[in-house]
Symmetry: C2
């Protein structure tokens, strides 16, 4: 329906983005915040046709889409607030001392935007992590133009929302070129964007293969650029003994709901459970299997995702020493319901898990595997051998925690967020959130894609030495006109500089 | 004299580093600071034999070495102070709200150390950017073990200082393995270190070729790791018209001293001057040439650097439309003085410069080129086509600045530090310093290697959700026992949480 943009059109869009950057980069924080809020308002006021379009493209039910729209609006507004507060600029000022030999210069450091950013949105969050989602909002807040490549699985939705951004830009007088919407089913479109010399950063949410390809292209450039790719996670759950003994059924029920939430199509879906063999683990397993069997999940996002789910789950089940704990039948196996999968639960030994990397891989969809350990040493070995994760969850009593400090250190070491006694699904949009983790969960563990700190991804420090205070950016001016927090000679303060 | 460490020895050192990491990562900020201060004390108390050794290895005069030693001690102490202040952890706390539907979780974010770091020091800073230099100090502050590969050009110095670190570690009871000193003239040693799965980051100061090789190896790993490589810079100086007209001689004299400081062997040596053709530029050029001719520079660091200087300068001078403004003779061309180079000054047109990438390259040593522009548009084109730089300097009156906003934005865009009306040499060790810049000046422009913010390079965010407050790291505990600044529900405060 939508034809791919031509090479010439893409070049033109990047050129316009660069031209817009030369103006927008000097926008005040307040004006950037206005732009974000204007996009939020457009989204708030748009008609319900959006839900019809998106539901048809993604199979997501309207209730879920209403929630996700509210989340997207909240993100835009909260990033606008954070942008204006200015703390993310991490302003540092060291004043001059002419008495010293040699004289100490005046130095003032702030963040400066990187330049045009390409955003590849997620199929599972058509609003919140797509066209006007977190990457776009944080790039605008940082001072960067955005070129969104429309997700091939929801191009109509993307077009609808792109038009809202165009409308907000026009109302705010934001330069043409600050936003572009690019169509490209062919991978060459994405490659041209990432390789273009005037593109300075990339945001991506999706598969490992897709994300790693973008990272590779970015590294092959004459001037390599940062890629913030969130590439999936198995979100291991460690069931510590006393906690598990206390109430294996309740824990199983809580996680059955988390595994099947959104048809298991969340990047924080718990996919691996690690526990010690024994009665409690058996009760947990039996209850979890029964709960999953009784859960009727909805439709998956699209045919490609459903096929991958069946293939990856089947592949995992065929590995040595893997037991299928649920009958693997698709009771709705007819054309109409082809996209509605059966939840799958499997079980294996720590030994088999440690030897087989296939079992470490994410199966996107309502699938989980239980890893049975025969002693604490095996639990530790599993923790030590896990790849980078967005989240890890520990189910534990205080005694469990006190008795397993070493294990907990290992678990911390592989994840961006560590959760105690609750589920990893549900990613709160707050500054204290970390959504990102060691490779391969994300391509750059020093940054996250949820919460206003995501803004920092698209800026870099610049120091002004011996500069005229009237010509400095507002945040560095001696009188502190923005009234923001600044570190002056190693002390945090809002005070002006004399 | 020193033989390369074997593969097995290196594996053993990395294993010991990992074991030490499991203990040291939980050290309090105060204990980490104690370790840094203990290294500073060892350095302060060591005997003057160090200067004899280092002078023999590097040709650097004792006065310079005394200054550099003082700088290294200052770095260690100031990073210790910053480590303890804890602001670098950028703690964010968002408290729970159980009234909300769904309930809002308690989330607390801090930084966690990456793991063992390999440091490749600089030949031109045998103390401050080598064995116990900025990279080592910031990695220890972040909570990471360090493996230093001894610089082949000053292995004895490196060994001497490594022993001071070992001694400080022993006195502080810091785990064996927190520091290792590796010898490797063969590139395979560096490669083994960077490719080792238990190495989690790399610090490097040196040439583009060396730095880019490390970046490539790091990207080829199964788990890519961050490399902070500072790879050189030409540090362009823009001579704006009114300023240049006011006093071309004084400007020339100031920069003659900066070009020849330390025999031109600083990464911030000004290497390119951009100005508009005319009488003032002629006066500037004539004065600069005369000053350089009358400057007697010292010896270069070693034969390899001196050879590269002669080759690179000769190559630049042989390019089309490049004039040599000084007689290119080595008056001291005998064996004893082979390492004492002649300062070289050349001149070219903006047109030739824009067409020839060879003229954009750093010539390490007392060399500079003047780029003559025929109009303001050419000045702008030169600024737009410069690669990433550590610093850019603007010589300008207030009127010049006001009349050249577009040019100044372009200049900002390519550098990490922008300097007004003074020289780029002299890198102040303060938090407001940014020593790093867009590629190829450094491999990661979001971080810098001078000033306590360098600590942040070796840590990543981790969020604790729903955690027991007694088991949180001190900086996240509700009562704020460290009395550090934290962002609680979007407000910076030192107050405890109720």
């Amino acid at each position: 329906m939508f034809t791919d943009n031509t090479t010439a059109e893409i070049d033109e869009a990047v050129q316009q983005a660069w031209d817009a950057f030369t103006i927008y980069r000097n926008y005040s924080l307040a004006k950037r915040a206005d732009f974000l809020r204007a996009i939020a308002t457009e989204l708030e006021n748009c008609n319900d046709e959006l839900f019809t379009i998106t539901s048809a493209e993604t199979n997501l039910p309207e209730a879920r889409l209403r929630n996700e729209k509210a989340r997207t609006i909240f993100q835009l507004n909260s990033y606008a607030d954070a942008c204006e507060r200015g703390n993310w600029l991490d302003v540092k000022i060291d004043t001059a001392n002419n008495e010293r030999t040699p004289p100490k210069p005046d130095l003032r450091k702030t963040l400066t935007p990187l330049g045009p950013v390409v955003v590849f949105g997620a199929s599972n969050f058509p609003f919140a992590y797509s066209t006007a989602g977190g990457d776009t909002a944080s790039a605008f807040a940082a001072g960067c133009p955005v070129l969104v490549k429309a997700h091939p699985a929801h191009e109509k939705t993307s077009t609808f929302i792109a038009n809202l951004i165009f409308s907000a830009a026009q109302k705010c007088g934001v330069p043409k070129g600050m936003f572009a919407h690019i169509y490209g089913k062919d991978f060459k479109v994405g490659k041209q964007l990432v390789m273009h010399p005037n593109i300075k950063a990339v945001g991506f949410t999706g598969s490992y293969i897709g994300g790693k390809q973008l990272v590779n292209w970015a590294n092959e450039r004459k001037e390599p650029i940062p890629v913030f790719a969130e590439m999936g996670s198995t979100n291991p759950v460690f069931l510590l003994q006393e906690k598990l003994n206390n109430d294996p059924e309740a824990i199983a029920k809580m996680f059955a709901a988390s595994i099947t939430l959104g048809v298991g199509q969340f990047c924080t879906k718990p996919g691996i459970f690690v526990g010690m063999e024994g009665d409690s683990l058996i009760t947990f397993t039996t209850t979890l299997a029964a709960e999953l069997k009784n859960t009727s999940v909805g439709l998956m996002l699209h045919k490609g995702i459903e096929t991958a789910y069946q293939q990856n789950a089947t592949n995992a089940l065929q590995q040595q020493d893997v037991k299928n704990l649920l009958e693997f039948t698709n009771q709705n196996d007819n054309l109409e319901n082809k996209l509605s999968p059966t939840p799958i639960l499997s079980s294996t030994t720590a030994k088999a898990f440690l030897q087989n990397p296939i079992l470490h891989k994410e199966v996107f969809g309502p699938y989980a595997i239980i890893v049975r350990c025969i002693n604490e040493e095996e639990v530790l070995q599993v923790a030590k051998n896990l790849e980078g994760q967005l989240t890890s969850t520990i189910m534990a009593t205080l005694t469990d925690l006190q008795n397993n400090e070493n294990l907990i250190d290992c678990i911390k070491n592989c994840c961006g967020r560590i959760i105690l006694n609750t589920v990893p699904t549900g990613v709160e949009v707050v500054e204290a959130m970390q959504h990102g983790g060691p490779f391969p969960a994300s391509s750059d563990s020093r940054f996250g894609s949820v919460g206003a700190d995501a803004i920092k991804r698209f800026a870099r420090p610049i120091a002004y030495q011996n500069w005229d205070t009237t010509l400095l950016p507002d945040e560095l001016k001696s009188e502190n006109p923005l009234q923001i927090w600044r570190t002056v000679n190693n002390e945090l303060t809002k005070a002006p500089i004399n």
